[in-house]
Symmetry: C2
Subunit: 498 residues, 2 copies
């Protein structure tokens, strides 16, 4: 057994190295690469991807997994070894089902669609994008056809980002959330305030320094991490000790400090995976929703809280005197927590954000079911958007064309954003029940106990267990919208009432 296991591990380590190299090449491409480097980089990434894929779906890996089936039982479910075998088998069986040609078609179509989508969004020209969207949906249908044993076709797509999650579960929590949020937002969204100061100026060099100051308190450290500039912020990593966060700055916008906290949450998760899982496929956060729960934890639950600002506001005010020198803390706190329906998902506040997501989740299912034709998609989008958010969509750039996801066939991804919100508060309630003085610690600028708790209970597990098992271990139960609804009602209710 040891020999077979070692061989499996060595093969997986090699594949992992290729995947990590890809991740750094992607980081380099978006953060460092001169524009001329695009074609060569495209070729490199494609080559690494193909080699990693071929090595992974090989018969040899399948044989090793078969040979190890017996000893997996003896090893104990929780052991790193059994988890590696179990998780690898799941990944292998799934990836083996997709023919190389189809995978290549999906990649090719995404590359082709990207620039067309960008142009269509710029010109608010849905007709231009339509043929590419049709192709993307068609390819997704062919992709779904590679699988069997699912209850709803959408399960297959969801599974790519949230392994094991079923569409009805998502529907249930989203329906519960929607029922509460729509009236709440209609009520709170009308609370006005003078937020004109939010337009700055916020000198970008100060934004960078202040972002670093905050995330260093969270646990970011230059010995294992960097913070750089890019157009669309993201976090990447080359290993647990090499974390790459990215952000962006605009003189008239202070969103960057929340972006830094958000990406830092992703980065701390990757950094916190147990060193025993390094160079294995378990060395990652377990799913999109769990990952997002951590970016939202640090960005929203910590970073938009009163205790956090009780600590930071004086130095923040001193750092940005032009913008907030004469703005008191309460006014600032209200501005960064303002609930106001708007068109663009990525600019949405903490509460309305979820309605943007629910809208997309519903439309994706109806597209797949064929109950909405793609030609009628803009009308469907606009009608439902107004129903949920109370404002009419002026054009498709601010509507159906705003997100890149569908151009790359990324159906099934959107729901994980809101699932992340929901899970973040489930975890927060759990932490708080064990460490009730965390808010006091935040007031002192101390976040180490929170970070330790999250690392021990969640981050260290990596991909050892399924997302459902992981959540169960962390909070003691399945996904549940109630804590999140309580949290929003309490926080936003207080703001509306005052």
């Amino acid at each position: 057994m040891t020999e077979r296991y070692d061989e499996l591990k060595a093969r997986l380590a090699e594949i992992h190295d290729l995947r990590r190299a890809q991740e750094i090449l992607f980081w380099d491409q978006t953060v460092m690469m001169p524009p001329g480097g695009g074609p060569a980089r495209g070729a490199q990434v494609t080559t690494l991807d193909r080699i990693a894929h071929e090595k992974f779906v090989s018969d040899e890996i399948g044989k090793l997994l078969d040979d190890l089936a017996g000893s997996e039982q003896e090893l104990g479910y929780d052991s790193d070894e059994a988890s590696l075998i179990r998780t690898t088998r799941r990944d292998w069986e799934k990836l083996r089902r997709v023919p190389a040609d189809l995978a290549a078609d999906i990649t090719g179509a995404a590359a082709e669609a990207h620039d067309v989508w960008a142009k269509a969004r710029e010109d608010s020209d849905y007709e231009l994008f339509l043929p590419h969207l049709e192709k993307a949906v068609d390819l997704k249908r062919r992709y779904i056809d590679c699988f069997d044993g699912y209850d709803e076709p959408y399960d297959v797509l969801l599974d790519d980002y949230e392994p094991g999650m079923k569409t009805p579960e998502v529907r249930a929590v989203f329906d519960e959330l929607k029922a509460e949020l729509v009236p709440l937002i209609a009520e709170i969204g009308s609370v006005e305030g003078d937020d004109a100061f939010m337009a700055g100026p916020w000198p970008v060099d100060k934004q960078h320094e202040y972002s670093l100051e905050i995330i260093r308190r969270f646990g970011f450290d230059e010995s294992f991490a960097r913070l750089d500039l890019t157009v669309h912020p993201f976090a990447a990593s080359s290993g647990t000790q090499d974390i790459r966060l990215t952000t962006r700055y605009k003189d008239e916008d202070i969103t960057s400090i929340f972006t830094a906290m958000h990406e830092c949450g992703h980065g701390l998760y990757e950094h916190g995976v147990s060193p025993t899982l390094e160079r294995t496929p378990l060395c990652h956060g377990v799913s999109s929703a769990l990952h997002e729960s951590q970016s939202r934890m640090w960005e929203n639950i910590v970073g938009r809280s009163r205790p956090f600002w009780n600590h930071f506001y004086p130095s923040f005010q001193a750092t940005f005197p032009e913008a907030v020198g004469d703005v008191d803390q309460e006014r600032f706190y209200r501005a960064i927590n303002r609930v106001k329906p708007s068109y663009i998902r990525v600019d949405a506040d903490e509460a309305t954000y979820n309605l943007h997501i629910i809208l997309r989740f519903e439309l994706e299912q109806e597209i797949l079911a064929g109950t909405i034709g793609l030609k009628e998609l803009p009308e469907a989008w606009n009608a439902r958007f107004e129903e949920y958010l109370g404002i009419p969509v002026p054009n498709d750039s601010l509507g159906v064309l705003q997100d890149v996801h569908w151009s790359s066939g990324g159906f099934g991804y959107f729901p994980t954003y809101s699932l992340g919100n929901i899970i973040s508060v489930q975890i927060w309630e759990k932490v708080l029940s064990e460490l009730p003085d965390l808010p006091d610690q935040f007031e002192q600028g101390e976040f180490g106990q929170l970070h330790d708790w999250l690392r021990t209970r969640l981050y260290s597990l990596g991909r050892k267990f399924t997302p459902q098992e992981t959540l169960e271990r962390v909070v003691g139960g399945p996904i549940d919208a109630a804590p999140y609804i309580r949290y929003l009602k309490e926080k936003l209710g207080a703001l509306a009432a005052a």
Copy 2:
């Protein structure tokens, strides 16, 4: 034929992608990576290296080369296709001779020796380094044993950096050079001047701006290149349109502008390779010496010339008023061309540099021949250093321990530095015979015609021909020390006489 050729090309493209990815991972490691990333990066680079190597030395590549032997003749020697087959066959036959175990031993020993060497250099402790040097030499002997048909064992090592070059050729040009240089330096090295101003201050941000200003005139362009900071400057590339230059700045040292010109020379060579060779193993400069001829061309022949400074000195003086505000151009020109024997190769002037190299070249051969024992190497080094450069070596840190090369088994590399000097002037004489008004153009800050000539005649060829064939095509003859000796005598003689 087309099908077999296409298959060969596709396989080589894949290997090339892996090699380029390695190059960017190395660049990232030395320029961007947080310190914690070392172990993961080491694993990634090792994996990519092993996969690329395995794919290259495969039987399939050998079979394709055999199958294509016939059509190679029909294609014509100068065609891209025939050149690709020919050069690949040469590389393949060479790499196939080295067993994977030996290659791994060499890599492992180099990794082990590096830190020991660094410590030994720091403490001037040759005894500490000696066992690692013994191992490196032993491995090199085993490496040489993999080959046959050579006249001298050193030919095998030289061939790794300067394919096809034979030891007697190098010996002949170095003997000629040494015979002229030793007395010349003894004479000129005694010319004194007040260079105290060279200690600065040279504000590092201004150094960066000014370095960029110069190399942009040479052809550097942010659309296809970057200039970043590192500890030991080098140039790397991800493709002809993605060139990464690195440099370093110290407040008390203006060497950086020459470093930038030097690395720019390497970068322009890689950038200028014909686009038709992209993603093939021909897409590189042809050899270490030819590459070095281009870094020296731009650094020394252009960058330390009077016409260059006639153009730049006024703006240079305005940029660094504290250092050179009251230093006239002639005094500055003399300072940057000062010939003065010193201990450290990398800090040596244009002329004495070659004696540092000749010393190493001679010692490497004697080590291999066994006529110098490694225990006696410091004594041999010190005696010969004083003979050639006229100054006694105070300790091994400033002597035999100064270079990293031997720790990694890089025997055979040193000579290419001086061969590069020699070739650079051969090419310069050739350019000048065709474009006699180049110095006038330099006075105007114009370097485009020189760049165009070099790109058309040299850079675009990539690795299509051997280094010897390449030189023959560019200058019409073999390597020849005479032009370089003329150049040094003329330039340095004028400085000594005035």
